[in-house]
């Protein structure tokens, strides 16, 4: 009997681990992080309670940020001063998001998650046809808070200097990314990266690296709330952590070898499908 239970446990660990590897690979290739795929699959396929799936994903996001940020920090792509400032908004948002998610009925949370997946699919669709406004202005604005960054970009073999713009406007939007991270365990990258590239006019490398650094603390802030409320399942979480971290490394390698346009189209369809399934599931719970 106990042997059977243990083999079930191990089977669950391996199955969730494999799904997390795939989710991490896909999420990294799209620059979204693995949670966008992992959370709905854990909920829809494995029947994991949504809050538990969100907690596992949030903790995997922390692991991914810790293991993946070092290279960007060494290359100085990451803007630590800007990150610290924006983290005030995202962590506060994440704490609020975590508290709200726990207070909501699961059906409502699933409905909102369906909406989020649809939103991400629409953003991906638009992004695939619009080039991101990442050009660095020739004339840099004043920088009283010393938020500007400077790094050697190996892809163009030049030193890139920039000063983030519209920081005041960016902070409340970043807090929305934090709320999304806290509620859905997705890290907030799908909101903060476009925010930094489009509104704040940062170079893509700096935006992606700074966001990847920020999501760790943002996700950690809400993960404590899930932990306290008994939503952290150690088995699911360990599998998610190992799977997402491994998947992210694979994703970086695979992304350079495939045609992005085709992939983006496939992923948009996948996200839209997951959104519909999640919405149907939410309606079924009402």
């Amino acid at each position: 009997m106990q042997v059977e239970e243990r083999s079930d446990e191990l089977g669950e660990l391996i199955a969730v681990g494999i799904v997390a590897v795939v989710a991490g690979t896909l999420g990294t290739m799209l620059g979204l992080g693995g949670g966008v795929f992992l959370v709905p699959i854990l909920s829809l396929v494995f029947g994991v309670q949504l809050e538990t799936a969100v907690a596992a994903s949030a903790i995997a996001v922390v692991a991914n940020s810790a293991s993946g940020s070092a290279n960007y920090l060494r290359a100085r792509f990451t803007n630590v001063r800007l990150a610290m400032l924006m983290l005030v908004a995202t962590t506060a948002g994440a704490v609020i998001g975590g508290v709200v998610a726990i207070g909501l009925p699961e059906a409502a949370l699933k409905g909102l998650f369906a909406g989020l997946l649809l939103f991400v699919a629409v953003v991906m669709y638009r992004r695939s046809f619009l080039s991101i406004a990442s050009s660095v202005a020739i004339e840099l604005p004043d920088d009283p808070l010393r938020l500007g960054g400077r790094f050697q970009d190996p892809s163009v073999n030049a030193i890139v200097t920039y000063v983030p713009r519209n920081v005041r406007l960016g902070m409340p939007i970043a807090s929305l990314g934090g709320v999304a991270s806290g509620m859905f365990g997705i890290g907030g990258g799908p909101i903060t990266v476009p925010l930094m590239t489009v509104l704040m006019q940062m170079p893509v490398k700096a935006a992606a690296s700074t966001s990847s650094f920020m999501v760790g603390l943002t996700a950690s802030a809400s993960a404590f709330i899930y932990y306290a409320n008994g939503f952290v399942n150690p088995r699911v979480t360990v599998a998610a952590v190992f799977g997402i971290v491994l998947g992210a490394r694979l994703g970086v390698r695979v992304a350079t070898r495939v045609r992005p346009q085709l992939l983006v189209s496939i992923f948009i369809v996948m996200l839209a499908t997951l959104s519909i399934l999640m919405a149907t599931d939410a309606i079924g719970l009402i």
């Binding site: 940020s65 610290m84 603390l217 950690s220 952590v241």
Partner: protein, 112 residues
């Protein structure tokens, strides 16, 4: 330049936190398999994690691994706070303190 030092220290903190955390989780899984221990579906309350580790309990180690992971980003805020204090950068000292108080609030919710 102190900012370069800060970047180096943050890398050290992130690497150390990640390695310790993943190491604890791996040891936990191995102990569960070797000693035939069951890992529950809910993490232990924070106060009970260290006593569980002292008993060489598999779940205790996995839970501690998760908690080490969660405090790793907080450690880099502390490292940044020290750097900004040394630089007498009042604005960013306040930013770090504000961040720490938000996290403390979140952990406070955990402990109540």
């Amino acid at each position: 330049m102190r900012l370069t030092q800060l970047y180096r220290r943050i890398v050290l903190v992130l690497n150390a936190g990640f390695i310790v955390s993943v190491g604890l989780m791996l040891v936990g899984i191995i102990v569960a398999i070797v000693r035939g221990q069951t890992v529950g579906q809910t993490a232990e309350p924070i106060a009970e994690v260290l006593p569980a580790v002292a008993r060489f309990d598999a779940q205790g180690m996995i839970d501690l691994g998760i908690l080490v992971l969660l405090v790793t980003p907080i450690a880099y805020v502390l490292v940044s706070l020290v750097t900004f204090l040394r630089q007498r950068d009042a604005l960013f000292v306040s930013v770090c303190l504000l961040l720490l108080s938000i996290i403390a609030g979140s952990i406070g919710l955990t402990l109540t």
